[in-house]
């Protein structure tokens, strides 16, 4: 491989300049950091022509950068907020910008992306490509709801500019949906147009503690009372940093609306809820989310509000109750811990007939390669995904293990 590595280094340098190759690993595999989408396109065109296998990296802090490949393509030099239109509530952001840096830059202008994906230091591109939403999904929707447009460089090295910079857009097929949450199956996300919102004037978090199922009942009672909090999560003791399971309710908006929501939430809940001070609330959510990357494996599983007990029982049965955040208002839970492939397969197998899709979000290469990000599809869907992959990455350049190897 070393010989190939050297050839690749030479070729990439001749295309993108001497400093495009930022380092090489022990095996001689080069890591390439293009500074523009055209550079990404050139590398992928060469890869498609030469048969190089390419692994896509963001800032390397969420999914480990360990997939075997001939070349690692990182978005980390695509690190500019290209355009920020606070008054129009839209920002164009390159994929390698760190999510936290982006939110800080936006906050200076009184705006934010209403999403709180776990993963310290991770890139905007990785959030979009893996569709990692956080607890705010309950009130603000999945990652796709925040993506107005995206530039995707296909496995063949074509630059596709999907969507736009406006909040309503039905011009042509919605290719942003192919870029969002497909783990890079169709190409490298190099830039996104994100939907912004004004920073809410009030932001209140309430906590309650108790038995897990009682907390789930309380959360469902809120939904039935017609309240839709920004976040509505039931957390395992480890995730909450407390001795017992915890219900966390976050309301954001104008001050009177937040007050009304909080009151209605308290009224519907059989569990007493106590408000947190603003600083304490920030710390609570940060700490909880940090747990998602404290162990080697993180996965998410879709589940309806009424099926959340069942979903949690499955997770406890096949895995453990290590770190869990169950988004009762968001239709899914996230688990983090350590587990071998066969455990995850068994869980997936048990969850599928219950209509609970399981997505492996992050894990060491061996595990990702074995069980795949998505595993098996529903009948007929695999063929469709295969046809799309053939269209976007006909040479199979991108190393993206989406299916179970079995």
């Amino acid at each position: 491989m070393a010989g190939t590595g050297l050839t690749i280094v030479r070729r990439v340098r001749s295309m993108l300049g001497p400093d495009a190759v930022v380092d090489t690993d022990a095996s001689g595999m080069p890591r390439v950091a293009p500074r523009a989408e055209e550079g990404v396109a050139l590398v992928l065109q060469a890869a498609a022509a030469e048969g190089w296998r390419v692994r896509i990296e963001g800032r390397g802090s969420w999914v480990p950068a360990d997939a075997p490949a001939d070349l690692a393509l990182t978005t980390r030099a695509l690190a500019r907020v290209t355009r920020l239109d606070a008054a129009d509530l839209v920002a164009t952001v390159e994929a390698g910008v760190a999510w936290g840096d982006l939110q800080r830059a936006l906050a200076d202008q009184g705006v934010w992306v209403a999403a709180d994906p776990p993963g310290e230091g991770r890139s905007v591109g990785s959030v979009v490509a893996t569709g990692t939403a956080g607890p705010l999904r309950s009130g603000f929707g999945a990652v796709r709801e925040h993506v107005l447009g995206a530039t995707l460089v296909t496995g063949e090295g074509r630059i596709v500019r999907a969507g736009g910079r406006v909040v309503k857009n039905v011009a042509g097929y919605d290719l942003t949906k192919l870029a969002t949450g497909s783990f890079g199956s169709f190409g490298v996300v190099t830039s996104v147009n994100l939907r912004l919102r004004a920073v809410p004037r009030a932001d209140l978090t309430l906590l309650g503690e108790g038995e897990r199922d009682a907390l789930l009942d309380a959360a469902r009672a809120m939904l039935e009372a017609g309240i839709t909090p920004a976040s509505l999560e039931v957390l395992s003791p480890l995730a909450a940093g407390r001795d017992s399971w915890t219900l966390a309710v976050r309301c954001v908006g104008s001050a009177p609306a937040v007050e009304a929501d909080a009151q209605a939430a308290g009224g519907a809940s059989q569990i007493p809820l106590a408000p947190l001070e603003a600083v304490e609330a920030g710390r609570f959510w940060r700490r909880a989310l940090a747990g998602a990357t404290a162990s080697p494996v993180t996965l998410r599983m879709g589940a309806l509000a009424t099926a959340m007990d069942d979903a949690l029982d499955l997770v406890l049965h096949h895995l453990d109750e290590h770190w869990i955040m169950a988004g009762v208002g968001a239709g899914g839970l996230r688990w983090s811990g350590d587990a071998p492939a066969d455990r995850i397969r068994l869980l997936r197998h048990a969850a599928a007939p219950r209509e609970m899709p399981l997505t492996l979000e992050r894990a060491p290469w061996a595990l990702r390669a074995q069980v795949g990000y998505f595993g098996a599809y529903r009948e007929g869907v695999g063929q469709l995904v295969g046809a799309l992959k053939d269209a976007f990455d006909p040479a199979g350049v991108l190393v993206v293990p989406i299916a179970d190897e079995r």
Partner: protein
């Protein structure tokens, strides 16, 4: 040609055996009903119309068509405004209006599953007893179908706060153009793999037919406040829109109507009490879980719009007055239809801060081409509807309308916007697509379409300008006729009925 007709007859016999011969329509008078949709400039009779009575009949029908290689066009209520439900001639129209059952309502999980022919407003009526509704509310909601909404990714006034159709579709059962039936997405909203539901929504009938649709329901707001603000200039009104959006308040709806529109509505049976001397009015609706909170937000909106020059701000005193304010807005297209024999409902989007300038520009374009433009639109989303009144019998006027439309599209794209926000590309805007997308992006769209429909049998010629499309229209050799007088008006009256 002969051979092809023979094949078609064989196919129709096979289909008649599936759906029953009374649900296969071929008489010219019957086909005429399906020869146009809400777009006044397109009129082509289909080869035949099939009205399947069940999902199973529909799937079997598609299989016959696939087997014979016969192109087809799905059709809901035919209220589309981009010619999406109208073929080039010779296609088989699959009318889905008989698939109109609400299959399940699951209040605890806030979702419902429907057949594609369910009329939008019926779902909200059916879920109201549970304190829920289906939020996307196109102005055509008393006629249009959820299937058509999914295909167009329809919007509506309340999509400002609640999101367009795409944000509400969780799971889709679809029949692909080759006759295979499969399920995309999951009822909880988490995808099994890539987001194929998101890709299917807005595909305008070119990826296959949605046969079962699971949507998210939203709690009915407990408190609502609706304001009517009027302005002496359009510019002030649009600056007020930007001001409200920038304040961080999220109104449920924020709609604008210009003077032409206001006067036409006030002259109609939908008179809502809009001030006829205003250059523009805004309807701003706030909603939430508690009266006091909504009242406080409404007071703030009132302060904001007054600061931007509103002459008067009135709050609907009760539910009746609120309904009246909304009826005027939702029936504005219908009222405009009475201005002239034909109405072209345009649709484009700009960034919200561009609204004041673009409305000036639209006014200038109207003057330049000598056409009458009336604006009634989703201002909070920057989604314009500059509607052009005209008489399709006058070919010169038709040309001017087309030129004015093209100029408006170009202006919106130049302002950072796009050529359609909710009505779709259909056949009407195919030729504008290169204004927005480069050849590689268009090629990617084409490739996605072929992944779903390799033979390109589903609604051929729509959405993406494909070379092959020209071939189809060329081969079929059928004329593209222009609509005759009054057609448009009838279409609109049907929607209102």
């Amino acid at each position: 040609m002969l051979k092809r007709d023979a094949v078609a007859r064989q196919a129709l016999d096979a289909i008649a055996a599936i759906v029953g011969s009374r649900w296969v329509r071929q008489a010219p008078a019957e086909l005429e009903t399906f020869a146009s949709d809400g777009l006044p400039t397109r009129h082509t009779r289909p080869g035949a119309v099939i009205l399947p009575g069940s999902r199973d009949e529909l799937i079997r029908t598609v299989r016959v068509l696939a087997h014979q290689g016969i192109p087809f066009v799905a059709r809901g209520a035919g209220t589309g405004l981009s010619g999406g439900a109208v073929g080039d001639g010779g296609e088989v129209v699959l009318a889905l209006t008989r698939l109109n059952r609400i299959l399940a309502i699951d209040p605890a999980n806030r979702r419902a599953t429907v057949e594609p022919g369910v009329v939008n407003v019926r779902l909200s009526e059916a879920t109201r007893p549970h304190g829920l509704h289906y939020a996307p509310d196109p102005s055509s909601q008393t006629a249009c179908t959820i299937g058509g909404n999914v295909a167009e990714n329809a919007g509506g006034p309340h999509c400002l706060k609640y999101g367009v159709t795409s944000s509400h579709v969780l799971e889709l059962e679809v029949v692909l153009p080759d006759g295979k039936s499969l399920v995309l997405g999951s009822a909880g909203g988490e995808a099994w793999g890539p987001d194929l539901v998101g890709v299917f929504v807005g595909s305008e009938g070119t990826f296959g037919i949605a046969t079962r649709i699971t949507v998210r329901l939203v709690p009915l707001p407990r408190a609502v406040r609706t304001l009517l603000a009027d302005f002496a200039s359009i510019r002030q009104a649009s600056e007020a829109v930007s001001g409200v959006i920038a304040s961080g308040l999220v109104p449920a709806a924020l709609e604008m109507m210009d003077r032409n529109c206001v006067r036409v509505v006030e002259d109609s049976i939908y008179a809502a009490g809009y001030p006829t001397d205003a250059a523009a009015v805004l309807i701003v609706e706030l909603d939430g879980v508690a009266e006091a909170a909504v009242a406080a937000e409404a007071a703030e909106v009132e302060r904001l719009v007054r600061a931007h020059g509103a002459r008067g701000v009135r709050a609907a005193a009760d539910e009746r007055e609120r309904a009246r304010l909304w009826q005027g807005r939702k029936k504005a297209f219908g009222a405009l239809g009475r201005l002239s024999p034909n109405l072209l409902v345009q649709d484009a989007v700009v960034p919200r801060t561009a609204l004041p300038d673009i409305l000036d520009r639209v006014g200038a374009i109207a003057a330049e081409f000598g056409v009458t433009v009336s604006n009634v639109f989703h201002a909070g989303d920057g989604n314009l509807h500059p509607n052009i009144s005209f008489d399709a019998r006058d070919p010169q006027e038709v040309t001017r309308v087309e030129r004015a439309s093209a100029a408006i599209m170009q202006a919106c794209v130049a302002a950072g916007g796009t050529i359609t926000g909710e009505h779709g590309v259909g056949s009407d805007k195919v030729h504008y697509m290169p204004l927005v997308f480069d050849p590689d992006t268009l090629a990617a769209m084409r490739a996605v379409r072929r992944a779903f429909d390799p033979a390109e049998l589903a609604n051929p010629g729509k959405v993406v300008p494909v070379h092959a499309c020209r071939e189809w229209t060329g081969l079929s050799g059928r004329r593209r006729e222009t609509v005759r007088d009054g057609e448009r008006r009838r279409e609109i009256e049907r929607v209102e009925a």
